[in-house]
Every structure is written in structure tokens, then in C-alpha cells.
Symmetry: C2
């Protein structure tokens, strides 16, 4: 990968104190919770964004909230950067460490503490995987709705950090809509509980603020999540179109008519070919774009909703309509879709963008994306959550070719700027992380960014929590960790 994204210089003073810091951390933790050997640190030197690797000072894997608190207080007292880490599945580099940092991983805090069906809630530790919540309540007829493609591996802690989504979030909302409360360790080791099993909370909505704050406002150790009753039935249906523009316009019209299926996923021709070759999902190969529309409920409800959707699809010249005929067929359709990233990785290097646009802009943005990719002489596969306008162009390139790598990153930046200019935003579910940090200036004015940084400073006065992420390093924010000059209140530029 090229180094379009400038990395912070580590604080040499912290690195030189390494033996003392390790000795201190060892005092705070039980046996087996501290990793300091270089070969054992390797699995923690990057995340699923992969483009950058940095070896942290140490990795701690606490077993309790109290241990997280002890380590975080120690790091804050000693101005040591801290990188919170779930399963390391971030696609925006949210969990990439830096050389002077201590990684706090939640992988040992992986117990479901309580399932409370009368209140439709579960209390889980932050290291619990996304899928295991649904598995724990499946027999009782419930599930946890947000379903990132990485749901077998990714943790609830990471989901909260990035406000993760998934294919079925069109109907049920993303993480923030399914999170009822958290237990969180603050920068100074104090422990707060926000929200809980009751609707709403008095005072400010700190729960919403924490969700999606990318580990910069504290470290979540427990979460109370909403459980939802499984529908009577669910049926994914394939709609094939002769152009991406027609498929995009069809999505706009379905949602514009006020119809909200469980999911509307979009795949263009390259994505169909890649996924079909991998999963033999039965996708039609003679179309230019495919929508997977899932409806759910009773047979009568599904039929009624499908009837309205088919009518709209016909107006956009739908070429193929194929309903899944069995649970096996339905599972195969989703397997194809959910393996899109993995299947693409088998044929080329790729970077996955995560822009979100107002639905009325879908066709326009698809067309312009095509133009951008052509201009750089690259290839793209589009496979994304169309129902909520969350686009995922996968830009294919050869990582061994530095020039092509640079072109891929530049094309990605152009596409994200296009999304912002169309009234959308830089990210739908992957977060800003390190990847989109410098593009925040395209999305936000100085006034906006200054306000976000003031909020951050109210939670993390020394900027030790995931310090190189989310905000641009250049200009007023300094170029060194700890040097970010937070604008004082009252002095923001207009």
C-alpha cells in the first residue's frame, strides 16, 4: 500500500520507558493477561484494514472491568496512548496500534451475563461476539438484529465503537438503535453506567454519543442490548436488472413509496460474478445488476409486500425475479452476499469504501463512481446495503504495484468526496478510523470539527484514547500524538 495517510510519530520517551511500563502493567493484571514478546504482538499489529502495520508497546487482555480501569488509569497518569480492540475486524483501521501504545483487548471478557426475555434485553461483556447473542436466544425465538458480515468474529465492543450495521439493519436499525445501556471505563479509571433496560434516560443522551465514538470517549466493558422476536418467516427474492442505474432507481422508488423490507442488497455485474463463482448461490448471470430484497412475516404479509415491490420493479424493467423456495436456498443467497469481501480477496487486492448517500442519489452516485474508476483505469465491484443508501464500492488493484495502489486510494477518496457532495457522508458502518481521518475536512467545517474535538476533550483531556483516529492530524490539530491543540471554547473559526 502507498502511504497516503501520514502516520503519527511515536513518542520516543514512552518507548524508552518500555521495561518500566511493562513491569507496572504486570503488577496490575493477573498471570496470562499481558503480552509483550514481539512474536506474540504480531497478531495485534493491524486489523482488517491491513494497509498499515505498527507494533504496539504491549497488549493487555483484562478479565474484569476493574482491571480495565486499573490499566486505563495507569496509562492516563503516564500519558501512554491506549488502543481499544475488539476482534480486530475494523475495515477503517480503527484498531491499528501505534509503537508507543498499549492495546487493551476485550477478548477475555466474553460472557453473556444475563438474558432477560420479559424486558427483551441481554447484558453481555464487550468481548462477546455478535453472532453468539443471537445464538443464545435463538431457541426462545429471539435474535440480536445488527448483522455485520464479520458477525462470526466481531465483538459487541467493536460494534459499539463503530456503530456497526449489516444487511438486515434497513428494518431494525444499526447498533445505536439496538443498544440500551453500557458500563464504561473513563480515562481516569472511574466507571460509569449509562442507560439500561428502561426506555430513555434523564439528562443528555450519552449512550448515543458513546455509540460510534471509535473508542475515544472511554472503554465499554459491558452492554445491554435489545432482543427482537424472530419473524414467522423470511424470504429473500432476487431481482435482476439490465443496468445498475435501473436497479438503483428501483431501490429509490421502493423506499420512496414508504415500503421497508428487512433488507435490500445491491450487486453489480462484477460482484455477481465474483460471489457466484465462490458460493454458487444461484444468482442470475445474464443481468447487469441484482437486488436481494428480503421480506418477512406471515406468508400473507410477505406476499402482500412482494406484490407491491414487484409492481415497482416492473416499472424499472426488471428482467428476472426469483423467489427462494426453501430455507436452504435462502441461506445460499445470503451466503453469496455475505462472502462478497472474502470472495473478492481471492481474485484481487481491494479496498472497500463505505460512503452513504440519500436514496434519491443512488443512481447518480453509481454512474459517477463508474466514471471515477474509469478515469484511474481501475476496476470496481459494487455490493452494498442499497435500502439505506450505504454504498460499498470494492476497488480492485494490485498491491504489489505502488502506482496502482496509489491510484486505488485516490479513487477511493474521490468516491467518498462524491458521496459527501451528493448530500451523504463518509461512512455508514465502518467508521472513520485512520482511513478517512483526513477526509473529515471535506465533510465538516472548522466549526463542526472544533465542536467534536471539544466533546472529545471533555472525555479524554490528554487525548490518550485511540489518539490517531477520526480527526485529521494536520493543521490546527498538530502532527504529533499529544500535540493536538483542541480549540478552546469560544475561539472557533466561523
Amino acid at each position: 500500500m502507498s502511504e497516503l495517510i501520514a502516520f503519527q510519530q511515536p513518542d520516543q520517551a514512552v518507548i524508552e520507558r518500555r521495561p518500566a511500563i511493562i513491569a507496572d502493567l504486570a503488577e496490575l493484571l493477573p498471570e496470562g493477561c499481558l503480552i509483550t514478546e514481539e512474536r506474540e504482538l504480531v497478531p495485534f499489529d493491524t486489523d482488517a484494514f491491513v494497509s498499515y502495520r505498527r507494533m504496539p508497546l504491549a497488549v493487555v487482555l483484562p478479565e474484569t472491568t476493574a482491571q480495565v480501569a486499573a490499566v486505563l488509569k495507569y496509562c492516563n497518569d503516564n500519558a501512554i496512548p491506549v488502543i481499544p480492540r475488539g476482534a480486530g475486524t475494523s475495515l477503517s483501521g480503527g484498531a491499528i496500534p501505534q509503537e508507543d501504545a498499549v492495546v487493551i483487548g476485550v477478548s477475555k471478557m466474553n460472557r453473556i451475563l444475563e438474558v432477560d426475555l420479559p424486558n427483551r434485553a441481554a447484558i453481555v461483556q464487550a468481548g462477546v461476539t455478535n453472532i453468539s447473542i443471537s445464538q443464545a436466544v435463538d431457541a426462545d425465538g429471539f435474535f440480536y438484529a445488527p448483522d455485520p458480515s464479520s458477525q462470526l468474529a466481531c465483538t459487541i465492543g467493536g460494534n459499539i465503537g463503530m456503530n456497526s450495521g449489516g444487511a438486515h439493519c434497513l428494518k431494525y436499525g444499526v447498533t445505536t438503535n439496538n443498544l440500551m445501556g453500557v458500563k464504561m471505563v473513563m480515562f481516569d479509571g472511574s466507571i460509569v453506567e449509562i442507560g439500561g433496560k428502561a426506555l430513555d434516560a434523564a439528562g443528555y443522551d450519552l449512550l448515543g454519543l458513546i455509540c460510534g465514538s471509535e473508542g475515544q470517549l472511554g472503554i465499554v466493558t459491558e452492554a445491554t442490548v435489545r432482543l427482537i422476536a424472530k419473524p414467522e418467516g423470511a424470504r429473500p427474492v432476487l431481482f435482476g436488472f439490465e443496468s445498475s442505474v435501473a436497479a438503483g432507481a428501483c431501490v429509490t422508488d421502493i423506499i420512496g413509496a414508504g415500503i421497508i423490507p428487512v433488507a435490500i442488497e445491491f450487486m453489480d455485474k462484477p460482484a455477481i460474478e465474483i460471489c457466484e463463482a465462490f458460493a454458487q448461490a444461484g444468482y442470475p448471470m445474464d443481468v447487469e445488476a441484482l437486488l436481494i430484497v428480503e421480506v418477512e412475516g406471515s406468508e400473507a404479509e410477505m406476499d402482500a409486500m412482494l406484490e407491491r415491490i414487484i409492481e415497482i420493479a416492473r416499472k424499472h424493467g426488471v428482467k428476472t425475479i426469483k423467489e427462494s423456495q426453501s430455507a436452504t436456498e435462502a441461506a445460499l443467497i445470503w451466503k453469496g452476499r455475505k462472502s462478497a469481501f472474502g470472495a473478492t480477496g481471492r481474485i484481487a487486492d481491494y479496498i472497500c469504501m463505505d460512503g452513504t448517500v440519500p436514496l434519491g442519489q443512488l443512481s447518480h452516485v453509481l454512474e459517477k463512481t463508474s466514471e471515477i474508476i474509469d478515469r484511474y483505469g481501475l476496476r470496481v465491484a459494487n455490493v452494498f446495503h442499497a435500502g439505506d443508501g450505504n454504498m460499498h464500492p470494492l476497488i480492485l488493484f494490485d498491491a504489489n504495484d505502488p502506482e496502482e495502489s496509489l491510484k486505488a486510494e485516490m479513487a477511493g477518496n474521490d468516491i467518498l468526496k462524491l458521496c459527501v457532495d451528493a448530500g451523504g457522508c463518509l461512512t455508514g458502518e465502518h467508521g472513520v478510523g485512520i482511513e478517512k481521518r483526513d477526509l473529515m475536512r471535506h465533510q465538516y467545517s472548522d466549526v463542526d470539527l472544533a465542536q467534536q474535538m471539544r466533546v472529545r476533550a471533555a472525555f479524554d483531556p490528554k487525548w490518550i484514547l485511540n489518539p490517531s483516529k477520526v480527526f485529521p492530524l494536520d493543521g490546527r490539530n498538530g502532527s504529533q500524538p499529544g500535540n493536538q491543540t483542541v480549540p478552546e471554547t469560544g475561539k472557533t473559526a466561523a
Copy 2:
């Protein structure tokens, strides 16, 4: 009313500068936007909480965001408290002014700026009434979901300030779930735009933080709200029970089974009698408690959901089941429920509590509420949003009897503490305002409150925005406006 709630002493220095301040404000505003005559200020000296009255220094009614910005910057520069005001329908005293304050009302900013059906969004000014959004899109088959009982009068600006709910929020969520973006004036007159028509936003979720922040983080002047397609049909059904405990347990079991109707409203015997006498809604009079359960969708969908609900109700010994047979009958059922507060006001003085509890605690809290009311020798009518655990005990008393007034306030406090102790919270939709400010200590630890106050200080460093609300005045927060000592970061008590 007794004065259980201590009022801040106004800043005499500000009051003495009154003529100069009025002259300065006149410079910033066009003709007809500044109110300073005492008799014209009277309508602004309280809100629907009514218990307290204070005459503000002046009321400004700007016509544009730029005028709001000019006034807010002036007040911040001169350390003058500012009270943002929608329609003054707050039930927690959120819009009650203080003698040294300038009220900024949004009533002249009452235009719907854009209806964008393909993106299911409307952009409205903050002074638009809640109902007028639904009216504007009704013919197109859409509506705006949150429906406070005051929806004919209350403004979107006020709804955002208090994160307002309503009977139909069980299915569709409260204001924060239906708000997509805001234009907001910051303390220093800078103008920010947060969110918009696309899903999610990069960086922190400031939109969620703003919603429900009771006018303390800025003044919202425009909002982008979500539009929802009207259902094919809707049918309220009355379920009569022999006890409040049975009705409460029935609600717990409906929601615990994962069934989410549009609304589940609860009325006890006194509430039924009061509402029926006022609205002749056809409520059964031979039961101790009534649930209004509304289902929606096609006839088949409604029948299917009702069948499951009736089965659960039978387990709890339901005595009467009555389905509305026509649109007129349905409207009458809702008229009875929505007039509960007004109808109660005709027979007695009352204060309305707004605690929220986990659903599994409904019956327990109803029983304990009864005990508290008996202990004080008062009467209570319970009429509330049972489906999301948002309780509204109306405590009846004689406002001309100082002892009974005090008892009513003390009983109210005991009930809210009961809600918190049951795992719930002080407010579901009315906000903390001035009413529940001192009870925040029962809900939150010092660490929690300190963190909320640090967030506030990041948005309003001089504490000029709605300064006497939300946070307790006593102890570490000082007892004078402007004297609140925000805990410095790093020094919170454990």
C-alpha cells in the same frame, strides 16, 4: 404550589442593565420581534408545568437563523442567560424563564421548507408544530411518527429539546429515532449543521446528543425529520381487566413475547372515569384497568397480531374485549386517551409524573405507587404509555391547600425514586427541566453528573443556555446562575 424546588437568585447586575440590553437587542432584530412590555411578557412567564412563574427580561422572536445567531452571540458576550422556547408546552418546566434572562422563541420560524418524498424526509423550521408536518404529507400517504398529546400546539424545536414521545412511539420510536439532521446555533453565534438525509454521520453522534439536551447545547433552528408511510389500516382495541396488576402483567407478556403493536396505552379506574365523562369514548366502566392496544397493517395482519394478543390477555383474565368498528369509533377512543390531562385538569389540580421502568417491573411499580399515594392520603389517576414502560401517574390535589400541595410534590418525588430504584429512570418524554433537576442525584452518581456537566461546558462554557435546568443547583454546582463550578476533567469523585 409549594416551593420544593429552590429557584436561582437572578443576577441583579444583568437586571440593572435592562434598558441598555433592550436597546442592544432592538438593534439586532427587525420591527416586531422584541417584546419588553410587562403585560406582553406575561404569556412567557411560565409553561405547561405552571407551578412556577418568573418574568423574563425580554422575549425575542427571531425570523431567521442569522437573527438567532446574533442574539445568542450578544447574550454570550454579555453573560445574559438565554431560555430557548418552543410553544411553552413543557410539562417539566423546561421553558420557565428567570428574571435576568432573554427568552428566544421560535414561533415565527414556522415554515415547512422542503418535503422530499423519495428520501422520506422533510426539512422544517424549529417553530413548525408537530401536527403540521403530518398534515403536509397526509395526502401523499405519509406521516411524522412522534405524537405528543400536545401535538396541535407543540413545536419540533421543543420536541427535539425534550426528545418527545407519544402514544404511537412504541412502534416508531421517539423524536431521536425520527430526527435525521439539525441546523443549530452555538453559544458563540456560529452555525453548525449536523446530520442530513443520509444514514449515519462520520465522527461522533452529535445529533443524538443534541436531541433531548433541553436547549442547553445550542438553539436548533431547522430540522430534517423522517417521514413514514401510513399503514393500510389501524384498529384500536380495548381490553378491560379486573385489576391494574393484571393489566400490567399482560403488557409485560405481550412485549416479552416480542409482539410490538403501534401503541399500548394503560388507564386505571380513576383515569377511565375521568376520560369517559369528558369524551364519551365508549370505555367499559365495569373494569379496574383498561388497555388500548392499537394494531395496524392489512386486515389479515391486524387479525393475526390481535389473535396472539387476545390469547395473552385471556391468560391474565381479560374481562372485556372491544374492537373499534369504524374510523369514528377509533378516533373517539384516541380522543378519550389524548384528552386525559385536560379532562383531569377540569376536576382537580394535578401534577403528572413521567418515570420510565423496565417492562418486567410494571405491576410492581403500579402497586408501590398506590401505596405511596395512600401514605400521603392523596388520589392518583394512572394513564400512560405502557408498551414502553413510560408511566404517567397524575397526582390529584388542591393547589389552594399548601400542605396538600407539598404532599403531592413529595409523593411525586417518591414515585420517581421508585421508578429509578426499579431499574428505570426519571423521565420518558417530558424531560428533566426544572421539575426533576434535584432528583438527578438519585439517578446518577457524582461521576456520571460530572461527565454530563463537562459535556455541557464543551457546548456552553459560560452556562448561559437554560442555566437553571437539568442539573441540581446545590453542592458542587453552586447556587447562583453562572456560579456552577463544572468539575474539571480528571478530578471527578469515584
